[in-house]
């Protein structure tokens, strides 16, 4: 026997569908990531317990169908839409389907985690497109097995059978309920090749409206979020964080707090050095562990703590804005100047994101020039459900109930802190009270696990709202400076965008030359449409914590770009819709950097749809202000039109129309909710919201200082227009974020003649009116 001397190739990770007989004659179909040659998972792992559901589809002998929802539903509707993709392929009777939120699926692959369910990520716009690839297969396979079982029973070829509403139907019209076939189907040998998925003409659920599967439980108060979960003997933990992530505790007196009845312990927590944000606590803290929430809160109020600032204690949002403004206002050195003397040009962009044609050269020949600077604030996440986590750490097992968008990332935090094997960690993820990117970081999970270990008791961690607003991974403020030049025919010849911001990726392990990727999109409008286009990004140096935020980087960029297109139209004394139509030109495919194309025809279509619906033809005549904006991202297209009126200093948003093209629509009702919701979220932020820092501390501590828009401020109704499509579906959970604010600002300009170049809008409008 010879020994291999060459380096063996890494095992090929592949994904395959797996069929298992469950208990009580159930058919179970799952998708697993596995390495070639793996032994199949023993059916014993698939118990009857719901949280042990080891697969996507389970058909019980009584005909009830259980479908697992793998991606956390943070309000994006994936607990409804993903199971409907499976159910459609399965031809299930939706009224007999129950949806179960799947917790983290992890198995032990020689000490390494092996993710049982593939994609488990919520609120990043990726759930639907990932599901389109593999979840359809799970449904199709289950249906195929049921048909094989029916074929054997009836003695007819499977291709003469069809399926409908949870039953196989024989050539002579007899119905065989899936439940009666489940046990036999679980013993059918799986196919050797992937099963064909349905053709679109046979969809029964995809494209049809469906209400949220959790609606009844939510309106009756029965839905258990992580914050509503209990282990019998868990201690409640509440924290006081250091005001500065790099600060420290210099004086403390816990005695009064410890004397409060019901208090178990007061302990200090510190971020572990050398780890990335989101893997360890965000800031040092003092935690009170008590028998119940009220005791814990009372003790927390009696803590005597003195904190010392670290280097971030000298930062202020005002100084950072000034720094950003200086960066984008400096003369851009030419390539020749840079090459000749790099040292003499301190304010070169950190990254030249894109450089098409010859901006400087062509700008000199231009007939006219338009410039504007836009300033946008820091933002918090302000999820409705504050950070919390329930955790029990036993000798060889950890069980968590966690409101996370990324259970696999949460797993790695727990694994590091416990040293457990992959499958000794169980993470349950119930419905999540909002994510917006905040729950991609797991500082609060780390805190809960640390506390459970310190206390040697299960712990139920709860952040107060004040902690939540004051200790966030914020969206950075930004300053955009835009310059465009036009030729005598009013065509945009050059476009020069400069943006300064503190990258969300800084201090997160990304290389310097990639820091821009969280801040600006290389393909954003009007890239590809203007022959001479340049996009420069300037890094703002700051130690303030930052992280992913809903719709980033499109929200800030679309506000600047789509406001600026209006300013160009105004300079030309042209209808801003006409300016946009000219900019987009004929319907065609425009190449994207990095591959693929974007379709100006689809963008023109959504733009025209909102214009028609809001009766744009009245743009010049109406006393109200009409505003419009459009955008494309990740293969999806969106436009907003907004009508505003002004009574004295009171701004009314009279009408809002949004049109979207996401390709194939899985659940039009759910999509409408996402589009309306994201629109109102974006309007709320644009109208009111800003986090400001002074001495390194956020000044906003409650909804009073960080006022999400009230019902009265928001439009009474809005129109959502969904463009039907047959391309593979794109994500939509933040698609409507980018264009709402610029459409509003453009409408405000029409009604008030005030061009708002600084957000939040209300404060600026009242200052300028």
């Amino acid at each position: 026997m010879s020994r291999r001397t060459d380096t063996p190739a890494l095992p090929q990770r592949r994904r395959f569908l797996q069929v298992l007989a469950g208990t009580a004659g159930a058919l179970i179909v799952g998708v697993r990531y596995a390495e070639a040659g793996d032994a199949p998972v023993p059916p014993a792992m698939l118990g009857d317990a719901l949280y042990g559901l080891g697969a996507y589809v389970r058909i019980d002998a009584d005909g009830n169908v259980l479908i697992g929802a793998r991606d956390p539903d943070t309000g994006t509707g994936v607990a409804t839409s993903l199971p409907r993709i499976v159910a459609d392929e399965l031809d299930a009777d939706w009224s007999r389907v129950s949806v179960v939120p799947l917790g983290l699926g992890v198995e032990n692959g020689n000490g390494e985690p092996r993710w049982s369910y593939g994609h488990q990520l919520g609120g990043t716009g990726s759930s639907i497109s990932a599901a389109w690839t593999d979840l359809r297969q799970a449904g199709a396979l289950a249906r195929w097995l049921l048909m094989q079982a029916a074929a054997r029973r009836l003695g007819v070829p499977a291709d003469r059978l069809r399926t409908q509403g949870g039953a196989v139907i024989s050539p002579d019209g007899r119905r065989f309920d899936y439940g009666s076939l489940a046990e036999a189907a679980s013993k059918v040998a799986p196919p050797t090749a992937p099963v064909a998925v349905k053709t679109p003409d046979r969809y029964t659920l995809i494209g049809q409206p469906a209400g949220d599967v959790d609606a009844r439980a939510i309106v009756t108060g029965q839905t258990q979020f992580a914050i509503d979960s209990y282990f019998g003997d868990a201690l409640v933990a509440v924290l006081v964080h250091c005001p500065w992530i790099d600060g420290s505790l210099v004086n403390k007196d816990f005695r009064e707090a410890e004397a409060v009845k019901g208090v178990f312990k007061v302990v200090e927590l510190k971020p572990e050095p050398g780890l990335l944000p989101g893997e360890t606590p965000l800031a040092p803290s003092v935690a009170v562990l008590a028998e119940d929430t009220w005791s814990a809160l009372q003790a927390r109020a009696r803590l005597k703590l003195e904190w010392k600032p670290g280097p971030s204690g000298s930062e202020s949002s005002a100084a950072l804005e000034q720094q950003a403004t200086e960066l984008v206002s400096a003369k851009t050195p030419s390539a020749k100047e840079l090459a000749a003397n790099p040292a003499s040009q301190p304010i070169a962009p950190t990254t030249r994101v894109r450089n098409d044609g010859d901006v400087d050269g062509m700008a000199k020949k231009a007939a006219r020039r338009v410039d504007a600077t836009y300033v946008q604030p820091w933002l918090a996440h302000a999820t409705a459900e504050p950070m919390n986590c329930l955790v029990r750490v036993d000798k060889d097992r950890a069980v968590l109930v966690a409101p996370t968008q990324a259970p696999q990332r949460a797993w790695s935090v727990v694994q590091r802190l416990t040293g457990f094997k992959p499958d000794q960690i169980e993470i349950r993820v119930p419905r999540v009270g909002g994510g917006y990117g905040r729950r991609l970081d797991h500082d609060f999970v780390a805190e809960a696990v640390m506390l459970a270990k310190l206390a040697d008791r299960p712990v139920r961690l709860l952040w107060t709202r004040e902690e939540d607003l004051a200790h966030d991974y914020y969206r950075s403020a930004s300053v955009h400076r835009l310059s465009a030049t036009l030729d005598a025919k009013r065509q945009i010849v050059t476009w020069d965008q400069r943006m300064a911001s503190a990258s969300a990726l800084a201090r997160r392990g990304a290389p310097e030359q990639r820091l821009w990727t969280s801040e600006v999109d290389v393909n954003q409008l009007p890239a590809g449409l203007v022959p001479n286009y340049r996009s420069d990004w300037y890094a703002l140096q700051s130690a303030l914590p930052r992280g992913p935020h809903r719709g980033m980087p499109h929200v800030a960029n679309a506000f600047a770009v789509e406001s600026f297109v209006d300013e160009i139209a105004n300079a030309l004394k042209e209808d801003p819709l006409a300016t946009r139509l000219r900019l987009l030109g004929d319907a065609r495919q425009v190449p994207l950097q990095g591959g693929g194309t974007f379709d100006t025809g689809r963008l023109l279509n959504v733009l025209k749809l909102v214009a028609d619906r809001i009766e744009w033809k009245n743009w010049l005549r109406t006393v109200n202000g009409l505003g419009i904006a459009c955008w494309h991202m990740d293969g999806a297209y969106v436009a907003h039109a907004v009508e505003t009126s002004l009574q004295g200093q009171k701004l009314n948003i009279e009408r809002v129309v949004c049109a979207v093209d996401v390709g194939r629509v899985i659940n039009p009702l759910g999509l409408e909710g996402q589009i309306a919701g994201a629109t109102l979220d974006a309007l709320s932020a644009a109208l009111n919201l800003a986090v400001t820092f002074k001495d390194g501390q956020p000044q906003q501590r409650s909804y009073k200082d960080y006022p999400l828009a009230s019902m009265a401020q928001l439009p009474d109704a809005m129109d959502v227009i969904i463009v039907p499509g047959d391309r593979d579906p794109a994500g939509a959970s933040f698609l409507a974020m980018p264009t709402a604010a610029p459409a509003l600002a453009n409408a405000v300009f029409r009604v008030s003649a005030v061009r708002v170049r600084r957000l939040p809008l209300m404060r600026e409008l009242l200052r300028l009116l």
Partner: protein, 177 residues
């Protein structure tokens, strides 16, 4: 009355008079409860930690945002802001108490389901309580009256909530006719 007389008279050796019951008596969703812990404990933590009625949510420390609203003697109250000692003998309704005993949804709950007026669902119980109070005061609320709701929602469910309130108002008017 009979009991008072029994207490006033000298007890027989076989009957021990009932001790005065301690704690704070409240009625929650039609059922009697007695809180014997700290009288300063806010109602929210009594509901959530003691009774495990978790439909009423914590979202802020001063009740801003309305996720912690309940009805106390039919008036909306922030559960995190009201201590138990102010609630003696009061009737409290939480989101768990809106549906009928047989599970039939209140028309307002049904309207929220029908309009899919739900984002993440965390603040929904608070919207239901505030909307129910609005409909109690104004069975056919105007848009301006709906505008006065104190609730906040980051998911942006406001336009759908408005539709749900109007749908419920119509359904309830139909029921009365």
């Amino acid at each position: 009355m009979a009991q008072a007389q029994a207490l006033a008279s000298k007890p027989t050796s076989s009957i021990t008079p009932e001790k005065v019951r301690e704690g704070i008596a409240v009625e929650i969703n039609g059922r009697p409860f007695r809180h014997t812990g700290d009288p300063d404990m806010p109602l929210l933590w009594y509901l959530r930690d003691v009774l495990r009625l978790t439909g009423t949510k914590y979202a802020s420390d001063h009740g801003l945002g309305g996720a912690d609203l309940v009805l106390v003697n039919n008036k909306p109250v922030s559960a995190v802001s009201v201590p138990m000692h102010e609630l003696a003998d009061k009737k409290i309704t939480t989101v768990e108490g809106l549906a009928a005993a047989d599970g039939k949804l209140h028309p307002l709950q049904q309207a929220f389901v029908d309009e899919d007026a739900i984002g993440c669902g965390y603040c929904t119980p608070g919207w239901l309580i505030a909307s129910l109070d609005l409909l109690n005061r104004h069975p056919q609320p105007t848009d301006d009256q709906i505008d006065q709701l104190p609730n906040l929602c980051r998911c942006g469910c406001q336009t759908r909530v408005r539709r749900a309130i109007k749908r419920a108002a119509a359904a309830m008017a139909g029921g009365r006719a």
